[in-house]
Symmetry: C2
Subunit: 206 residues, 2 copies
């Protein structure tokens, strides 16, 4: 079995949502699995001194149009949430807590459900109540999660995942790393797929 | 005949070079022509308060890798020039002067030749001598061009093209506008092609 694809994402990013809709199937086509790694985009941007796109003149309006068009042309349901752009802390903390307690598959399922709730149903996943409810749907103990969300350990863990990401060259989301090769953006999924195909061909020839 | 595609580019941008390698054929497939519009990326970035990618931590090394990979996966010859990144003033001024004196087709041919010389042969197109030589290859009067390059009128014209671009929402290169729809980046050429296909279908159905 080849190494998993590392998938760095922030729940508030539309492009990360598009990536989340496609990453598992893409990986499966190449016999790979996905390691879902939640990070805070704001931390990555701080490390590089870059402003979030919605706050940059001209880029902001373009990004809004580009998101709608990208969703449409890829057949992805997308509605810009009312609270957008937002700093969403509860979902990445919950995802890490669920991974610790229930394993990576459950955490990934929770992450996919959060993205869907935020970008198609307009659920405010910045609220603990919403995150707990979505986790409970997946079979998570909501009472324990609600406590875990605010534990110092989880906050520290989220910070560590972000620092490790930066140390690996991650500066935006979505960001994937395949056998050491970095791909930034949903618009690099085509290149990632070509890369995986080449990697398989090289392996077969070896 | 449908409206031309406006193509904004800076001669110093690898992604603009990739776009320049593909834009004419893409347009022709949809019965369109291309208006080649040279601008200075530095002016666009100043308007938005953004640093050029090579100067941003983490993004710089990534961009270098991404350029090499994008060229390879698209079958485009690409060698990062020795003087890179650079502020290239002579080529856009020359392109506008040639357009004024010889027409748009000659200016586009000159622009394509400049990109090729810079990104495949390592020619320092920031130098007047190099630009004049490349223009002479196309049949341009080099003596007159050498004077024209430094005229106040050409400097003013380049500034105006940049201001008009910003007024239309252009904030980076390559940037194309098709019937009012904006596309930023060589990585949006797929979407531009889908858009042109849809536009033709809508027209045929009308």
């Amino acid at each position: 079995m080849s190494a998993p694809i590392d998938f760095y994402f922030d729940f508030a990013s539309p492009y990360a949502y598009f990536a989340a809709c496609r990453i598992d199937a893409l990986a499966a086509r190449h016999g790979r699995t996905v390691r879902w790694r939640p990070v805070l985009l704001v931390g990555l941007l701080k490390a590089t001194g870059v402003l979030p796109a919605p706050m940059v003149p001209l880029r902001g309006p373009y990004a809004e149009r580009d998101c709608a068009r990208t969703a449409q042309l890829n057949g992805i349901v997308y509605r810009q949430p009312a609270n957008f752009p937002a700093l969403l802390l509860a979902p990445p903390r919950a995802a890490l807590w669920i991974e610790n307690e229930y394993g990576a598959d459950m955490a990934a399922a929770f992450a996919r459900r959060c993205f869907e709730a935020y970008f198609t149903e307009g659920v405010d996943i910045g609220q603990d109540d919403a995150v707990v409810r979505l986790a409970e749907e997946q079979g998570v103990d909501g009472t324990r999660l609600r406590e875990g969300l605010h534990s110092a350990a989880i906050k520290e863990q989220l910070k560590t995942v972000g620092e490790e990401a930066i140390a690996r060259g991650v500066f935006g989301v979505p960001f994937t790393i395949v056998d050491g090769e970095p791909f930034w953006g949903f618009d690099r999924f085509d290149q990632m797929e070509q890369w995986l195909t080449q990697a398989a061909a090289t392996k077969a020839a070896a």
